[in-house]
Symmetry: C2
Subunit: 218 residues, 2 copies
Amino acid sequence: MSATPDSEIGTARIHQEEILEAAALCFMERGYNASSIDDVARRLGSTKGRIYHHYRSKADLFADVYRYGMELNAAAIKPLCGAYDDPVEKLKAMAKVHCLTMLRTRPFQRCVWEGVSLLMRGATTPEQRETLEELQGLRESYATRFREVMEGAKAMGKADFESSGIALQIFLMALNSPIFWYSPRETDDEDKLDEIASRCTRFALQGLGIKKEYLQDV
Amino acid sequence: MSATPDSEIGTARIHQEEILEAAALCFMERGYNASSIDDVARRLGSTKGRIYHHYRSKADLFADVYRYGMELNAAAIKPLCGAYDDPVEKLKAMAKVHCLTMLRTRPFQRCVWEGVSLLMRGATTPEQRETLEELQGLRESYATRFREVMEGAKAMGKADFESSGIALQIFLMALNSPIFWYSPRETDDEDKLDEIASRCTRFALQGLGIKKEYLQDV
DNA sequence: CTTGGAGCATACTACCGGGTATGTTGTCAA
DNA sequence: TTGACAACATACCCGGTAGTATGCTCCAAG
């Protein structure tokens, strides 16, 4: 984590991504506390030794899953940041992409969600609390991207929410909601995910008071 | 739990309500798995013995917290069920009351929420799974109340969502959302809660495509 | 070829927490 | 007065799990 050259960090990441995925699946299915390191190892077809070789503790592993999930989110909306003039159009695109990312990377996003809960519960060691607050910072700066665009739309008179703090919370909650009530079926293809994301996006934007005529193409 | 007369069930309930409240607070703060029975007992200023005298297991205690939370919900919307002709007016009232109940009984509602997760994760014994499915039935019949009114409003052309299944999920999620992002401040009075509930209700109803002119008084 | 370290597996410890078995106290009815 | 039971408290057991210590193997650099 210090003087290692980038190439080795890259290969380490590749090795660890397999662990990250297994951990995300376990944490999603049973929750953080109910999942044991042995569960994660079993899913990998290996043993604890492998995991503790890469991570110093269970909390460290969870933090990395969280971080990876947030990286996926940030990467998904990054191309959109400089590509729009109209805030409403930008918000439409960001919301849709965000929701699709939720659906596509559900296990990681569930961990991000539980990470927020763990933070609010404050049941961690001071050291781990510092790490989680750093990760919480990632999430807040991500949310700020949305807040700015929301307020841009409001300034143009195309949205009419009042408290941007509350509106942002409900807005993101509507977009995040499929990670809870959606469970993938074998018959579900990319079009199905796109349809679900469209429904969520329309709901969320209408909730902000954006008129339906702006939302034909979501 | 069998041949006990109603009066004794009543007094038992009174004794147990104190336990229920402590358990709800613990489960809210640290989650089900991370909360020990000793934690709940400590909060009560007593020991495990008291809890295990009233509940056969930790899962039983949690189930009762869940049940109590759902009873609070059902009781809150019950007076509204026969009181409206216009589905939109009825939906407005139900949504507002539901959201207020979320804010007022947050610890219990967080347990109801985690109960849903535990069910979906399916990490329980077959016997406990039966209990949780019964409780899940309570929740579904509660949700059905909202679904029917939503479809009534849609039939009148006053709402324009497409899939009522998805719309219901997002709608309830928006109304439930304050149990996650709201934490009470000392300065918050009843008016503050009412304002938050209004904001959530407006967002949720607008998300369903209900026009703003119908929502002046929420 | 050897040596050191990465990448694991194996074996073990220590502790926490759910559950139980049993003791203690107050109350109330016969 | 007593006995019976509710409502707890105390003391204990034991399985599961985070974390550690150590062993094994392969590969690459010297």
